[in-house]
């Protein structure tokens, strides 16, 4: 891990989002679960928040096992859980079932639903289901750069008001918006 971490440190200073992992011994940490359909950057966001490395791939079904790491956001330390891909709250495959069971059993303090900003139309229904379940959701519109490139314009304020949850736009591969996301998590966590 040393070489990787050294590299990561190097990248951090150039604005890359991966930060070295912070380790400390906390008993019952607040929990953040990352959910979303395959291929929207769940694992990359996990890497961003925790600084640990999970394989990131451009195809569905890479994360079968649940990865866990720690992240320090503001003054608080969180346990971050990366889940297998999930299209809907009504699971079809075993990986989706794993993701849902995790949400039901571990009762995370914050659920980050990460979506591909270009495909909001297909991905927002899961957000609605998570909100409906009364889970503490933060919506992350990832890969916002690709959406912008094709000329899409999304009004985050409108979305926040309609959904009544925090909405953040990010590019997890470059680290754009990650600080804003951390700020919103911090704010949100204080209220819980």
């Amino acid at each position: 891990m040393n070489i990787v971490n050294k590299l990561l440190k190097g990248f951090k200073s150039t604005g890359h989002c991966l930060a070295p992992q912070e380790k400390s011994s906390g008993g019952n940490l607040d929990k953040i679960a990352i959910v979303g359909s395959p291929n929207v950057g769940k694992s990359m966001l996990f890497n961003c928040l925790t600084g640990t490395y999970v394989a990131v791939s451009n195809y569905p079904g890479t994360t079968v096992e649940v990865s866990r790491g720690r992240a320090k956001i503001g003054e608080r330390e969180f346990e971050v859980v990366d889940t297998p891909g999930m299209y809907s709250f009504l699971p079809i495959s075993e990986e989706e079932r794993v993701a849902r069971t995790l949400l039901l059993e571990e009762k995370p303090n914050i659920v980050i639903h990460i979506v591909d900003a270009k495909n909001l139309e297909r991905m927002l229904p899961l957000t609605l289901q998570l909100i409906e379940a009364r889970l503490p959701v933060v919506l992350v519109l990832n890969i916002i750069d690709e959406a912008e490139k094709i000329g899409m314009k999304i009004n985050l304020g409108h979305l926040e008001r309609d959904l009544k949850i925090p909405v953040v736009a990010t590019v997890s591969t470059t680290g754009r918006g990650i600080d804003v996301l951390k700020g919103r998590i911090e704010e949100y966590a204080r209220r819980i």
Partner: protein, 482 residues
């Protein structure tokens, strides 16, 4: 939708409210969610509610049935339709500009990859340059030669031999480290000189292919063939991952939706999918004979299709339908490719290195106790049946430990000039099909249970030699000499 409004109320909403009021236990999520899942007949949630609401469950089930009868379409369809409507309403307000998406270059390229007419040539080009040229020729050829001949044979081996001769006077103990099967002369050499360059080049090629988003498109392309053998294109991902490491891929079979698909995929992974290091060594072994390479690919491919077809007939279950998310084509990021390759190679190495060392120790103990010779003697019989020299038994014994270890054994025998081309092809085919390594066997047992795991291995043991025997017989009957 007039059917939703009857008697002034929305049946779905009314049922939901009724169910909600009947739920007494705490489920961690809202009663409305539980209610919706019950209406959509989610098995897990239904079972959960049944166990937690012993008194009200019957009533709830009645409401679900009643609601179902009320609609022509399945409730899950109605519910997702409404959700989509809500989504669209929200997006109408939040989306300030939604571009009309025409066919971009990416999209065109993507279609070319999926269409069978243009897709298959593209696949062949990728296999030829990405796997054969880069992994087989460059990794398993150039790099292995360099590390093996220049670094090990010229520098490390003589030096290590000398050092151990001077510090360990007992021949027997010295054999453990620097003998024919010694920890350093065999274990470390296989790991560093053979497996390392092959696996690294393979993982580089694989990471690039993976990050472009080509694999899901490949899945669509191959979907048709796979459907015939009872798998969906979704299974391509475990199969392609299996080329990296079949053990890891067996774990990924969990993403397949039906049990039947998972079992078929597990069998195929154990039998007909060589892992990266094995593939690399085999490509380099057969690099001198292109006809041999084609025969090897043809036989293994046929076995794959044949067994897949058979097991889809034998294992009961419906042929599943295919659906998959297609990510956009992207240019791979160098940093991501690098770090992915690094972490995979590291993981792979950590996995094989202790195994190779352990194998050397076990062989050493086997030699001391005479067990090694017995095993070799036993294995010599099937090896003779398939027309190979007795020495090849060692490679198959290695194959019990790991596929790549076994392939390494073949490499040494070929280097020693003991194989004719015919024998080489037969040996490569048999070893490709031969038993999965110990790690994969354990994974099979873990994922599929003892009975299935053991049954798969026993089947493969006999089947691989049977195919080798068949191939050898065909060669001699037809008088083929490659």
């Amino acid at each position: 939708m007039p059917e939703e409004f009857e008697g002034g109320g929305d049946i779905l909403e009314i049922s939901l409210e009724k169910i909600e009021s009947l739920l007494e236990a705490d489920y961690g999520i809202s009663g409305r969610s539980i209610g919706l899942l019950l209406l959509q007949e989610d098995e897990e949630i239904t079972a959960l509610v049944k166990s937690r609401e012993p008194e009200n469950y019957k009533l709830i089930a009645e409401i679900v049935d009643h609601t179902k009868e009320h609609y022509h379409e399945p409730l899950s369809y109605i519910i997702s339709l409404r959700r989509q409507e809500e989504t669209n309403n929200i997006l109408d307000r939040a989306l300030e500009y939604q571009p009309a998406i025409g066919l971009s270059l990416r999209e065109k390229l993507s279609r070319i990859m999926i269409s069978s007419l243009t897709g298959i040539p593209i696949l062949l080009v990728i296999l030829y340059y990405g796997i054969y040229k880069f992994v087989g020729k460059f990794g398993a050829g150039v790099l292995v030669d360099f590390i093996e001949k220049n670094i090990f044979e010229k520098n490390i081996n003589p030096w290590v031999n000398q050092v151990f001769t001077s510090i360990i006077p007992w021949h027997l103990l010295r054999e453990l480290f620097v003998g024919e099967y010694g920890m350093i002369t065999l274990g470390v050499r296989y790991a560093v000189a053979l497996i390392f360059p092959i696996v690294t080049t393979f993982f580089i090629a694989f990471a690039i292919i993976e990050d472009t988003g080509y694999l899901p498109r490949l899945a669509l392309l191959i979907d048709r063939v796979f459907k015939k053998i009872g798998l969906t294109g979704r299974a391509v991902i475990p199969m392609v991952l299996g080329l990296g490491c079949s053990t890891m891929a067996t774990m990924v079979t969990r993403t397949l939706p039906t049990k039947r698909e998972r079992i078929i995929a597990t069998i195929l992974l154990a039998l007909a999918i060589p892992c990266s290091a094995q593939l690399g060594v085999i490509l380099s072994l057969l690099a001198g004979t292109s006809i041999g390479l084609w025969i090897w690919a043809g036989v293994v491919g046929l076995v794959f299709l044949f067994i897949g077809f058979l097991s889809s007939k034998v294992l009961p279950g419906d042929s599943p339908s295919f659906y998959m998310e297609i990510p956009p084509l992207r240019l791979p990021k160098l940093f991501n490719v690098f770090i992915k390759t690094y972490s995979r190679v590291k993981w792979y190495f950590a996995e094989i290195f202790p195994m190779f060392i352990l194998a050397s120790i076990m062989i050493w103990i086997g030699q001391l106790t005479g067990l090694f010779t017995i095993f070799i003697r036993v294995l010599e019989y099937p090896v003779r049946w398939i027309g190979l020299p007795d020495k090849a038994a060692v490679a198959f014994l290695f194959g019990f430990f790991r596929r790549d270890y076994g392939a390494g054994g073949l490499y040494d025998i070929k280097e020693a000039g003991l194989f004719s081309t015919n024998q080489l092809v037969v040996a490569c085919v048999t070893l490709t099909l031969f038993l999965p390594c110990i790690a994969q066997f354990l994974m099979n047992v873990k994922e599929r249970g003892w009975k299935t795991g053991v049954a798969i291995s026993v089947f493969i043991l006999f089947f691989s030699f049977f195919v080798g025997f068949l191939l050898n017989s065909i060669f001699s009957i037809l008088g083929v000499s490659l």
